[in-house]
């Protein structure tokens, strides 16, 4: 029974971890290229969740189709915020960019609250389930997991196989050198920021495919903390590292529950968080730059 529960929880953790990873890639990308820590990260996830909700509830568009639409919306939002706010702050001290992204997050929360209210909302996209015997997986979760993995692969290919991706990597390595070689560094920054925001907004849609309830203007806060942990776990500047960091985090969080439940008088959920953060500390002690830090963008 315990082994079955453990196996079931690990499968659930892997699926959830892929979505966590996807939800962190944007954060890592923006930090990797611009050296900006987006503390308003969760608010962009929330925007994606609202896009999924609205498209489903008002137009009947299923969340899979909402992913590219949310990505495009996020790209636009990223460009708007980059040229209106972030561009002026790229060379400013870290505090300025931290406060700016914090403010953008608050702004988004309050605008969404003003438009849609503060109720906890949700939608019901029933596309069946797979009963694996040891656990049951709704197809919507599998689509979210597959979508996250696909986006991670596409991002990898884009970075490594396209001129724009190479240009961006050159900016990460040495922005002055890249400029001398003819790379438009300003455009690379704008593209990175908007791409990061696009990925984050799209991840909000994928998260609702995993958990289609609790959609609220303030929902992002829970994911911001997790995203920071996962980003550090995977190597803060590495989007692919973030994806694998998400998988590790999901497995640790869900897998450890079954083990802690065996200890009498212990509340396992309280310890799973402790365990996840303990593992983070241990990994950072062994590899201070994160799990996949050598694979720079």
């Amino acid at each position: 029974m315990v082994v079955e529960q453990m196996a079931g929880n690990l499968i659930q953790g892997l699926v959830l971890g892929a979505v966590y990873g996807m939800a962190t890639m944007g954060l890592s990308l923006i930090f990797g290229v611009l050296k900006v820590v987006n503390v308003g990260h969760g608010a962009f996830i929330m925007v994606g969740a609202f896009i999924a909700l609205l498209l489903f509830n008002t137009l009947g568009i299923n969340p899979v189709l909402a992913v590219p639409l949310a990505f495009l919306f996020g790209l636009g939002l990223g460009l708007l915020f980059y040229y209106s706010v972030m561009q002026r702050l790229i060379k400013a001290p870290e505090l300025a960019t931290l406060l700016a992204t914090f403010s953008l997050g608050l702004l988004l929360q309050e605008v969404v609250k003003l438009l849609f209210g503060s109720e906890y909302r949700g939608y019901n996209w029933a596309v069946g389930k797979i009963d694996l015997g040891i656990t049951v997986l709704p197809m919507s979760k599998l689509y979210a997991c597959a979508g996250s993995a696909l986006i991670a692969v596409l991002l990898y290919l884009w970075f490594n196989k396209t001129r724009a991706g190479s240009a961006m990597r050159s900016v990460v390595e040495d922005s002055e050198g890249a400029r001398v070689c003819g790379v438009n560094v300003g455009a690379a920054y704008a593209l990175s920021f908007s791409l990061g925001i696009g990925l984050t907004v799209a991840s909000g849609v994928l998260l609702t495919m995993f958990i289609p309830v609790g959609i609220n203007p303030y929902m992002g806060g829970h994911y911001t903390l997790k995203a920071f942990v996962i980003a550090v776990l995977g190597g803060l500047a590495s989007p692919y590292g973030a994806f694998f960091g998400g998988l590790v985090f999901g497995l640790l969080e869900n897998g450890s529950y079954t083990l802690f439940a065996l200890i009498p008088g212990v509340e396992p959920f309280a310890l799973t968080r402790f365990f996840s953060f303990l593992m983070l500390l241990i990994i950072l002690l062994i590899r201070p730059t994160g799990l996949l830090s050598e694979k720079r963008t």
Binding site: L16, S118, D131, T135, E267
Partner: protein, 452 residues
Amino acid sequence: MNLRVFKRLMLIVAAVGFVLIGCQKPESKAPEKKAETAAEKTAAAPDKPAAGLDKILIGHPACLSGKYAKAGEQAVGGIKAALDWVNNTYGGVTLGGRKVPLEYIYYDCESAKEAVTSLIGRLAMSDKVHVVFSPYSSGLTLRGAPVTEANKILYMDHGGASNAIFRQGFKYIVQTIGPATSYHQGTLNMIKATDPAAKKVALAYEDSEFAKMVMEGAREHARKLGFEIVFERTYPKGVTDLTPLLSALKASNPDFILGGGHFEDGQLFNRQMADLGIDTKALSLIAAATLPAFYEALTNMAEGVMGPSHWEYGVKYSEREAKKVGLQWIGPSQDEFVALFKKAVGKEMIPDYHAAEAAAQVLAYTLAVEKANSVEVDPVRAALGDLTFMSFYGGWDVDDTGMQVGHTMVDVQWQNGERVIVWPPEAQTGKPVYPMPTFAEKAQGKKAIAGM
């Protein structure tokens, strides 16, 4: 980013926060200066009869944003509706032979503990209110209590149900919402009466002051009724995935489940039970299940789910009912309250129990001030201790600690998209659907419809 930069950032964020809180305008009908003048008169002559008082000030750190914004909006609407009734229908509070209007000053506490304490300090020292209404939730209410005690101000609790609030020895706190330990008693009584064969109960709830207290009462009552607790686990606040807990719960094969904590986790609980195909005869979730947003988010998956509620539209409290049980009646009828609430919030919004209990608190304070013929804290607190009455919200009575003991809760169940009061029998607007449909049946569109 090094530690120095991080410290600087925190300092700037804290400074900006303080400035923003400081710059908030009180959302009151009257200018702040006027409110201060009235209060200063009382403060300057504490032993003088309150005959000169031109208004009674109610202060409130309301949760208008943040995680409790929904409950906060309801509470503010309920308070405004009750104020409207007291000032315009009742004619004001009778004090020293005159009718004195109530005035309401509230600030957004953003559902944050730090803001609650600073705003209560501001209401007490700067606005000089006569009474402070608590914010929503047990945690926030408890946070504010030491500040009202220190300022010797009456603190009326309509949003904090935890019994722990009344175990701290606070002198000036008085509760209108029912105590948390009574939440699931009705549910357990209903299942005992409906299905004597049901024996196994699972408890799964948020690791919060409120939910722990609810389950303390449920555990005790379940044992008294002969139920066996086959599973009991908590989950942290802000949880985003309950799958591991629910998988373990499924293995314990309970007859029914009592769970939840607040809105967000309640939705998640129900949703992931559906995902994992965990079918039980009954599911009762605190806080979340009674709200319309619960059904809107979960649609058919919410069919048959129950929840305890302090008040629901349809309860049968009236002036006649009050006479029957020998209680004083005050306040609008149920339908009048709904109309006043809609006028107060300015939209077609149905009040829920958060609004009703906040409104009932205004009525309790009104009666207590009249009984004490004073706005001074000690006489009003003593009057509240002796007060018993009935309003559209139901009965009202407190024990020596200030904890509510006169109010009875009801249990509601989602049936065919509607909230139906299923327990206690004397308040029923419909029979309970037991067992509730399975999640597979609900996925096929089956509704919980009682065969009358």
